[in-house]
């Protein structure tokens, strides 16, 4: 049977397909993923998590240092609890501020960490003390309207 004719073509086909997969993984995707290496998990509580999603990046000075591992609601204090997995390569002081930021105008939300000055650092299981919640559009608008109303006294309909 002339299988040799098929073997060559099929081998080339499979090689081409695997090459395409690698191309996608490396050139198109982020195979240099973050999840290798040791990490520690810290907790941050927010009044409002906004559009933050699990696996969203945690950045400091714009550089990715970790990922959001989980998001849940504290049933008693009604705060959003985000657990952040941070690479062990980075240390953040105990007075670090965690803010929910948006990348670009239409962008996804991420957590930005700004380290403080205290020489003690956050470790596994510690809680970030200072947090700033996401900007919620409705609240911004109502705040704006409120401020506007306060600026022009005596104006009644």
């Amino acid at each position: 049977m002339n299988r040799s004719k098929f073997d060559l073509a099929v081998g080339a086909f499979v090689a081409l397909g695997i090459f395409a997969l690698l191309f996608l993984a490396l050139k198109v995707g982020n195979l240099a993923g973050f999840d290798t290496g040791t990490a520690y998990v810290i907790e941050a509580r927010f009044d409002n998590i906004g559009g933050l999603k699990v696996r969203a990046p945690v950045k400091s000075a714009g550089v990715v240092v970790g990922r959001v591992e989980s998001i849940s609601l504290d049933g008693e204090t009604y705060e959003a609890v985000a657990r952040l997995r941070i690479s062990s390569a980075f240390r953040f002081s105990k007075d670090t501020i965690a803010t929910i930021l948006t990348s670009g105008l239409l962008g996804e939300q991420y957590i930005g960490l700004e380290s403080g000055g205290i020489p003690e650092y956050l470790a596994q299981g510690d809680r970030v003390m200072k947090t700033q919640s996401a900007m919620v559009l409705e609240k911004l608008i109502s705040q704006f309207l409120f401020n506007k109303a306060a600026e022009t006294p005596g104006q009644t309909k």
């Binding site: 299988r3 099929v10 395409a20 997969l21 198109v28």
Partner: protein
């Protein structure tokens, strides 16, 4: 002739039961095919032959289509993004659309039209000319020798072809976006790499195409195996393969997309 309501009801009921019947037959057939799969791997030459006819022969249509789809995505995407001043996100839009959806789905549809229909016609013709019966009478199981290799070829081919489709699409988008429109090359790739996650997007896309390959493969061999052994029967079976495969791919895509991409929250 007046429409008799009782007749309408009976024909409706008959249509439903006959479809359920066929579905049951398909289920039993699928189980029988899966049972012989293990033995078929020993006859690797058969699988290679089918990989050639189903996979290699589909390369040109898949790569060319991928290229064009990527180009169109770039054009359309640029038009929309330009309004918000976010044109560097073009790579992101194109890559995600391709890897998550268009790659697996369009490839499966193309495969159904090109390779699956050929497989159905081939098996149907073997049925019509008694070749399957002759093989059976020679104590060689047609399921193992004819059906299973073609089924396996589909499962292997579709994911590889989908990857090629997506890769070609990204290249096509690059040609339009970077070369012709003038978007920054670095921004194009870096934004894409920042947003396309190997685990969520690429691997899920590959999983989708594996599922599509299984569905399309099963449908094509089933329709061929149970084709009515006449010229008309083979032609009907072939069109049925294409239609059923297309619908199955789209339905499975909905289910899988919801399962995989539902809430990354």
């Amino acid at each position: 002739m007046k429409a008799d309501p009782i007749e309408l009801l009976t024909s409706l009921g008959h249509a439903v039961t006959s479809r359920l019947d066929r579905l049951g037959l398909a289920a039993r057939f699928s189980v029988a095919v899966f049972r012989v799969l293990g033995a078929v791997f020993l006859r690797f030459g058969l699988i290679i032959r089918e990989l050639y006819f189903s996979g290699v022969r589909s390369l040109s249509i898949v790569i060319v289509s991928g290229l064009f789809v990527g180009m169109v995505l770039a054009v359309q995407g640029y038009e929309v993004l330009q309004r918000y001043g976010s044109t560097e996100a073009l790579g992101v839009i194109v890559a995600l659309s391709l890897v998550r959806e268009l790659g697996p789905v369009v490839t499966a549809l193309l495969f159904a039209g090109r390779a699956s229909s050929a497989v159905t016609a081939e098996i149907g013709l073997m049925r019509a000319t008694d070749q399957l019966a002759a093989m059976d009478m020679m104590a060689v199981d047609p399921l193992a020798r004819v059906i299973a290799p073609r089924f396996l070829a589909a499962i292997f081919s579709v994911p590889l072809l989908a990857a090629l489709f997506s890769a070609a699409g990204v290249c096509g988008a690059w040609i339009i976006g970077v070369k012709l429109i003038g978007i920054d090359d670095g921004a194009f790739w870096s934004q894409m790499q920042a947003s396309v996650d190997v685990r969520i997007d690429i691997i899920n896309g590959v999983l989708k195409s594996i599922v599509f390959g299984i569905a399309v493969g099963l449908i094509s061999v089933f329709e061929g195996y149970f084709a009515v052994p006449t010229a008309e029967g083979v032609s009907t079976a072939t069109t049925r393969t294409v239609v059923t495969s297309s619908l199955a791919v789209l339905l499975l895509d909905l289910v899988l997309t919801v399962m995989m991409f539902r809430g990354l929250n």
